[in-house]
């Protein structure tokens, strides 16, 4: 899509010139998805137009663990709203709510992003570290990560690990 995506690329190039110390490259979206599944470590920050971003974010989230663990945020000129990074296929299903198996990690990490945005880096770090320790330990995991813990159990574990 030479004009539409072309304009997007032109804009990215203009901004990239202002940051010569940051490596900038361009990749076609279909090749990008292929590279993501084969070798995701080659990517660092990815900036995309709307639709491609949706697809790439979900692909990346899937590779990294799923909707239950990926944080996200929406940023505007005056406001910011933080929420899970990838679309949750299980949104609005009451049955799952009753089961109490939802993974709180994604939203906890999103709230850490919010704290960082509000310029509370030490609080953000504490929260992130606690969450990461709980996951790394592997004892307290919800169903989507292969465990049997409930939402509350994971939250309690995170609180226990806060220093």
């Amino acid at each position: 899509m030479k004009l539409a995506d072309g304009l997007f690329l032109e804009s990215c190039r203009e901004v990239a010139k202002k940051y010569p110390s940051i490596t900038y490259n361009e990749i076609i979206v279909d090749n990008c998805c292929m590279q993501l599944v084969a070798k995701p470590e080659q990517f660092d920050v990815m900036v995309t137009p709307n639709l491609y971003g949706n697809l790439v974010a979900n692909t990346a989230a899937g590779i990294a663990g799923g909707t239950g663990v990926m944080p996200g945020g929406n940023v505007g000129a005056d406001h910011a709203v933080f929420e899970q990074g990838a679309s949750a296929g299980n949104v609005g299903k009451d049955k799952i709510v009753l089961e109490n198996k939802a993974n709180p990690v994604a939203l906890l990490l999103s709230s850490a992003m919010m704290l960082r945005h509000l310029q509370f880096p030490s609080f953000a770090d504490r929260l992130e570290t606690a969450v990461k320790k709980v996951i790394a330990e592997g004892k307290c995991r919800t169903k989507d990560l292969g465990g049997t813990s409930t939402t509350q159990q994971v939250v309690d574990a995170v609180i226990a690990k806060l220093d």
Binding site: M1, K2, L3, A4, G6, L7, V29, D30, N31, C33, M34, Q35, L36, V37, A38, L51, Y52, N54, L55, A57, N58, T59, A61, G62, I63, G66, T67, A86, S87, G89
Partner: protein
């Protein structure tokens, strides 16, 4: 329908859907029937576009393997010209295009798009002139070539004529451009019909329609409507609708969830490449483009790799597997299976592998190993 085709249909009776296979229109069906009745010694003519770069070498591999397997195909070779043919406004000559229209089947190697203006891209020329409306890519894990995903066995069927790639863009004012996405009932029904027919004739159990109709309610909505309609005619096949972002996530988490996927153009482009990445990349991926009247143009979708051209290093797997798809389309299933098994076994064995798969074999060694495995 001609008298001959009508009589043929009556004779075959209930088995018609199997013999007439993948073609949708009646004249296409007639071609397949004619082949079924032709003597086994009459070779079938197929157009071959070796392409550029590594194209000629891998095309040579295909010819060798097919000869070794006694496949009765007579190749009608065509090359991309160095000058634009005014009749086609492209580097592909009128004769080349006519050849595919006459033979109804073809095999295409990688073609480098020449730089410059005032001519159509080669792929666009083929697609428009041959009315290639569906791009079919089977993706399955190759035993012996390990990736992070072992249980991939799916087929992506992508609508190839419209959607986001209709080529309709314009600048509204400086800094604002519009791109128009077109979805038509005709194209959507055509690809949906093909997808379900493919699923049925290949014994697949499930068809998933991939969309973003929650946002693009009219365009993807129309596409889904068409898939819904066709699905009703195939009650034995499980039909589901999956939103594209969910689909991406499911594919990288658990590709075994999918069987046949049918999608509009852009999603198909992205998803089919994503799936190729799951099993090892474009160097191993076959594909087949289906046109009206039963035309099938199988092609290797990787690039022409000019840096290794002429060095006997290229991996012919993608073109060979595409050739197998072509044979299946021609209902030469026995030989298709023979060649397919030979390729799989050669790769699985691990003794002969080209550089891109981590081995040290040359193209010719690898080809010979496959011939030996037949």
């Amino acid at each position: 329908m001609t008298m001959a085709a009508f009589l043929a249909r009556r004779l075959i009776g209930n088995r018609s859907s199997q013999i007439l296979g993948t073609s949708c229109s009646s004249s296409g069906a007639f071609i397949s029937v004619a082949r079924a009745f032709s003597s086994s010694t009459t070779p079938i003519k197929a157009t071959l576009f070796p392409g550029d770069g590594i194209g000629p070498e891998i095309a040579e591999s295909v010819k060798q393997v097919f000869t070794a397997a006694d496949v009765a195909i007579e190749w009608d070779e065509h090359y991309v010209s160095t000058e634009v043919d005014p009749r086609t406004n492209s580097f592909l000559t009128w004769e080349s295009l006519q050849s595919v229209l006459d033979n109804k089947v073809g095999l295409k190697g990688p073609m480098a798009t020449p730089i410059g203006k005032g001519h159509r891209s080669l792929n666009l020329t083929l697609r428009k002139e041959l009315n290639l409306y569906a791009n079919v890519r089977p993706c399955y894990s190759l035993p012996g070539y390990k990736t992070r995903y072992d249980d991939v066995d799916l087929i992506t069927i992508r609508e190839n004529t419209e959607g986001e790639y209709s080529g309709l863009e314009h600048q509204v004012v400086k800094g604002v451009v519009e791109s128009i996405k077109i979805i038509t009932r005709k194209a959507s029904m055509r690809v949906a019909e093909y997808a379900f027919l493919y699923a049925k004739t290949h014994g697949r159990k499930k068809v998933s329609a991939i969309h973003k109709a929650n946002i693009m309610q009219k365009t993807d909505g129309l596409f889904l409507q068409c898939c819904d309609e066709v699905a009703k005619k195939y009650p034995e096949i499980y039909y589901e609708k999956v939103v594209i972002d969910n689909c991406c996530m499911m594919l990288v988490k658990n590709p075994a969830l999918f069987d046949v996927l049918v999608m509009p153009n852009l999603y198909g482009d992205i998803i089919s490449d994503l799936c190729a990445g799951l099993v090892g990349g474009l160097g191993l991926t076959p594909s087949c483009n289906i046109g009206e009247d039963g035309i099938a143009l199988a092609e290797a979708v990787h690039g022409s790799a000019p840096d290794i051209a002429g060095k006997n290093l290229a991996n012919p797997t993608a073109l060979l597997l595409s050739g197998v798809m072509m044979l299946r389309h021609l209902k030469l299933n026995k030989q298709a299976e023979q060649i397919h098994s030979a390729i799989i076994n050669t790769i699985a064995e691990g003794k002969y592998r080209t550089a891109d798969l981590g081995g040290t074999s040359t193209t010719t060694d690898f080809t010979k190993a496959i011939c030996d495995h037949l």
